[in-house]
Symmetry: C2
Subunit: 185 residues, 2 copies
DNA sequence: CTCCCCATGTAAGTAGTTACATGATTCA
DNA sequence: TGAATCATGTAACTACTTACATGGGGAG
């Protein structure tokens, strides 16, 4: 059988903490894995149906109030698939897309003020991300049904973004210390 | 006029160091921006044509040997567009996709050996990336036509991946130091 | 001369986002 | 009782990757 998509993994993982609707999964993702693996409704709902077709999750219609919603739970083979993924040793996908660094890369074309402005914007972005993790993710990660690794990864994120911000700060000072020998207009 | 795609920016940026073919651009990307912004042929070639249609680059047929190739160079308005992007203050896109952390997040379901195995795999991945940047990217970044920022970003990447590897190492020791109280099978 | 790799490019498929639609609930 | 917001979901689009095709040049 073909390997799980990462979206599928995220869903199965979230359901391993108890039955949830697509909406619940999305909300959980936004407050936990978002900073290293995000997912949108447009992926989650279709994937839930595909997983149900494959027998990895089972959906149950619940008429809570008037509005109908479907609550999904893991089946035994869903649990098996999650565990298989967790212990497989396929190459780990890793990818960064960061416009800040991209700007930095081409910054020789700017004068020093422009260069500094970009570095500052980049730093502020990282600071904001660190703060957000601290405020939104860390507190929730502790309470979850999921154990001690979610808080660990939240801590990882915070430290990472602080390191990134610190790198920017360091580079800003170095830049300020040098003469402006750039090719800016 | 609508804002440049990031692929377009990468292309314009690379051409700002002199005329290049699509193949050249791809090769340059693979040896410089790849670790924070990659691009594949499937994006580069169509985007080059779109940029030419928009007047930001100009392509010239060169029959080098038998095989025909098109070499593109920046037009003045292409330079302008690149500079406008560099100085714009739109929100900076930033995104990480990392299967290693994703595994870690759900690792409460594993026993400690499984957890350690994943951390180790993750660390080795980062170490390999750091080494690769050191070997392939850093040396080239220095020689380029592009100034001092490419080497700066290469250094950034190396430090980043070393920090990441170090975090894994730290976490591995902490994990080894604790009793195995996990829910592994 | 023939085999392999370099250089060039396209087409098809996958992954992911955004914009929209709609009913339910809350609350001023 | 209307406005805001929560909860649910779909459709259309954009971005990106992969697999393939093809011809030339160099190594043996």
């Amino acid at each position: 059988m073909k390997p799980l998509s990462n979206t599928a993994v995220v869903i199965l993982g979230m359901l391993s903490g108890g039955p949830k609707s697509g909406y619940d999964v999305k909300r959980l993702v936004d407050h936990s894995t978002r900073f290293f693996w995000s997912a949108s409704y447009g992926q989650i709902y279709p994937e839930l149906r595909a997983l149900e077709a494959g027998g990895l999750v089972r959906g149950e219609q619940r008429a809570t109030g008037g509005r109908e919603r479907i609550v999904y739970e893991l089946t035994p083979s869903g649990e098996g698939a999650l565990r298989a993924w967790l212990t497989s040793d396929r190459e780990l996908r890793h990818e960064i897309r960061d416009e800040g660094i991209l700007k930095l890369f081409f910054s020789d074309a700017l004068d020093r003020d422009g260069q500094l402005a970009n570095l500052t914007a980049m730093r502020e972005r990282y600071e904001a991300l660190a703060a957000r993790l601290r405020d939104e993710v860390k507190p929730l990660a502790g309470k979850g049904e999921l154990g001690r690794f979610p808080p660990l990864t939240a801590g990882f994120g915070i430290e990472l973004y602080e390191w990134l911000a610190e790198w920017c700060r360091r580079t800003e000072s170095e830049l300020r210390a040098r003469p402006d020998d750039s090719g800016g207009s």
